[in-house]
Symmetry: C2
Subunit: 419 residues, 2 copies
């Protein structure tokens, strides 16, 4: 049939592109490269022994139920445990507001499926989580990105932007927010901005999709409540995951939303994968019920907090002064901005970096409009401690050589991330 | 926000309805009912001990990889094993044509996402798998159903129907086929009809989506090659699953298609759930690599074959002569047609059946046009041996009483399933 498929594909499929990050990851696996690319937790942070104990017990005591199909909304004990844990974060919800999903990526896919018509608009931060944007675009939604500074989305600009879109007749469905330890920017919104974002959502009658995979992983400073904790109108759809506090290989996450929304997401999920792996839900449940989770998370935080410090120290030591970066208080990523000489392109820099055996993700992919070419995302959770300074030093050298080529730098003067 | 969500939902979400079967299952679980409803494998058929052995070994030897994110297309060793096993069915494929999915339901969702624009047409059998239809409808596709007899889809009628739709300008994307141990009808297409269906697809330049979850579970007669085995043009997208030959609780299935299609499905899957549970993929791989699969499937077949015979014997003994049913050679279901008195409605009969403590799925849900009201699907794999005759006897009594109310029966004269 040859070329024929292209015309058979749906409009949404015709515009789908492979993810840079995923393609890059494949490349990185093949070489002896120090990788700050990818978004992988460190396998040293996996509670293997606990999972083994749980798996054996589940298969000895509950195999009939744990290996069978389960309810689409998730097994009841897990939904209860999640609701209990969320209460500690200030989110008061009933079990029926909790939907178990196949990783929080599925939450983003289902939200897009259930809310987005063609050309409906999603407001996202600039930059924003790549696979989130892909999920929205895959339902032919439009993404409009608004700028951030070191405290996350600039709420005054956000309000102006939304106002302007409204005035021009654009149909905004929701704001996609990553308020805590933002991927890729590494920044966190203070409580004041969270409340302001919620106020804007109220004023323009919008939903907020709050993506919160990292908030349990704080290494510095004090916890800030999720936006959902301030939501008294069922306006926030909250999603999180076990990927970073247990393991990603189980693919178990959750959504908390108004019961009417949860019910609709559940029906959509039914036609999508019937249910999330029951076996893995049992593992996640026992991980919580046995209290392993609260013994284990401090170990992850110790490991990642140390790695973050090593990276920040190395950046300070080796990176050219003209490069700026964010200083995260948790999570997995930080964001570097190179001076914009008009021709800085971190995709080009990556080619030389790979020759020098160090990898990162070019910033460009986190924008829908082609900007971010002077930026890069660095992951600090996956590389080995001793590799971090070596990799940063290699990268510093590559950047220096690149900058030396440019005659003069034009620094960004609009809300640059990392300044 | 109250009623407001309804207008915020996308067009596709506004038309989504909860599945009867799922709602029913919840009801059935709450009561002391003999259930022929649902589509559950029997937990007695789960290889718990083998899974336990594998899980422990994987967590001892491969935990770092097995608990991490994996490639979207699936782990390579599993894709290879699947390709090898498919070769025995006459499907010759490279690893790169194999995509691992989160149960074959995800395959149907991804196919719909990648191929269906609004109002694009899918040709399906009447009746057809409920959650398959839901997947197609959830992307605003249109489903046109064509009749079957005891040998599956009537290919001459199929050809006429496609011809008529073409003439009226309808845009057909694919034929959705369940050629082996059809759900819900329980019938199997002979090789001749399979080839005829493929010829029709060639003549009208269509794809075929071949859904094959049950073909390893044959209790009577000889294997028939899948349609994909005759496909020399990359026209067939084949999907199957570990749900019925290992366990459903792992949510691991696969797709085999032309590499261009597999690549597009992979990109779509990336934005949907990133990857299928790596841990569960390792379990499925070891289940194959250790040869457990070939020792275990005969046990499942013995168990289910016996249950099928018990049900067929009981139907013959207890059911009114006016009721017809299919005689499957494998799989999990059979299909009963009651005489159509113009007012027969198995949804109504179900209410009385539940009072009498027996459950089935009303036929109506397997059609998009409201027909099938005189039909019911019976599952024979999940109930206990000794409950099957008791349940059939109860159901027979309910049906008899219902039929006695009607003065005269109008028997179906068009290609009735079960005659």
């Amino acid at each position: 049939m040859g070329d024929r498929y292209q015309e058979l594909f749906s409009h949404r499929a015709q515009q789908m592109k492979a993810s840079d990050i995923r393609e890059l990851l494949k490349l990185v696996q093949q070489h002896d490269i120090i990788s700050f690319a990818g978004g992988l937790p460190n396998p040293q942070a996996f509670p293997n022994e606990e999972i083994k104990k749980i798996a054996v017990d589940v298969l000895e005591n509950d195999a009939f139920a744990a290996l069978q199909y389960g309810p689409t909304e998730g097994i009841k004990p897990l939904r209860q445990k999640i609701a209990e844990r969320m209460a500690k974060k200030g989110i008061n919800c009933e079990d029926m507001e909790v939907l178990v999903v196949t990783g929080s990526q599925q939450a983003l896919d289902l939200v897009a499926k259930v809310f987005l018509n063609r050309k409906d608009i999603v407001i996202a931060s600039a930059p924003s989580y790549l696979a989130g944007l892909s999920a929205f675009l895959s339902y032919e939604g439009k993404v409009e990105q608004t700028p951030m500074d070191s405290q996350g989305v600039l709420t005054d600009v956000l309000r102006e932007r939304i106002h302007a879109i409204h005035r021009h007749g654009g149909n905004i469905k929701f704001i996609y927010a990553l308020p805590t330890f933002h991927n890729p920017a590494g920044v966190t919104m203070p409580e004041k901005r969270r409340k302001e974002m919620l106020d804007i959502a109220k004023d323009y009658d919008l939903l907020i999709v709050e993506d919160d995979p990292y908030s349990e992983l704080r290494y510095v400073g004090n916890d800030i409540k999720p936006i959902k904790a301030f939501d008294d109108e069922g306006r926030v759809i909250y999603t999180s995951t076990f990927s970073k506090i247990l393991t990603p290989g189980l693919r178990v996450g959750w959504v908390i939303a108004d019961p009417e929304i949860t019910r609709k997401l559940t029906i959509a999920k039914q036609a999508t994968d019937l249910c999330t792996s029951t076996f893995n839900q049992y593992i996640a449940y026992e991980y919580m019920a046995r209290g392993y989770i609260d013994k284990h998370i401090p170990k992850i935080k110790e490991l990642y907090g140390r790695k973050m410090k090593i990276m920040l120290d190395a950046l300070k030591k080796y990176f050219p002064k003209a490069v700026k970066w964010t200083e995260p208080e948790g999570g997995m990523f930080l964001w570097c901005s190179l001076p914009d000489a008009g021709k800085t392109d971190t995709r080009e820099i990556l080619k030389e970096a790979l020759v020098q055996k160090v990898a990162f993700v070019p910033g460009n992919g986190f924008y829908v409009d082609g900007s971010g070419k002077n930026c890069m995302r660095l992951n600090f959770t996956h590389p080995r401690d001793e590799d971090i300074p070596v990799g940063v030093k290699r990268l510093a050298k590559v950047i220096e050589e690149e900058l030396a080529k440019a005659k003069e730098y034009k620094f960004l003067d609009t809300a640059p991330i990392g300044v």
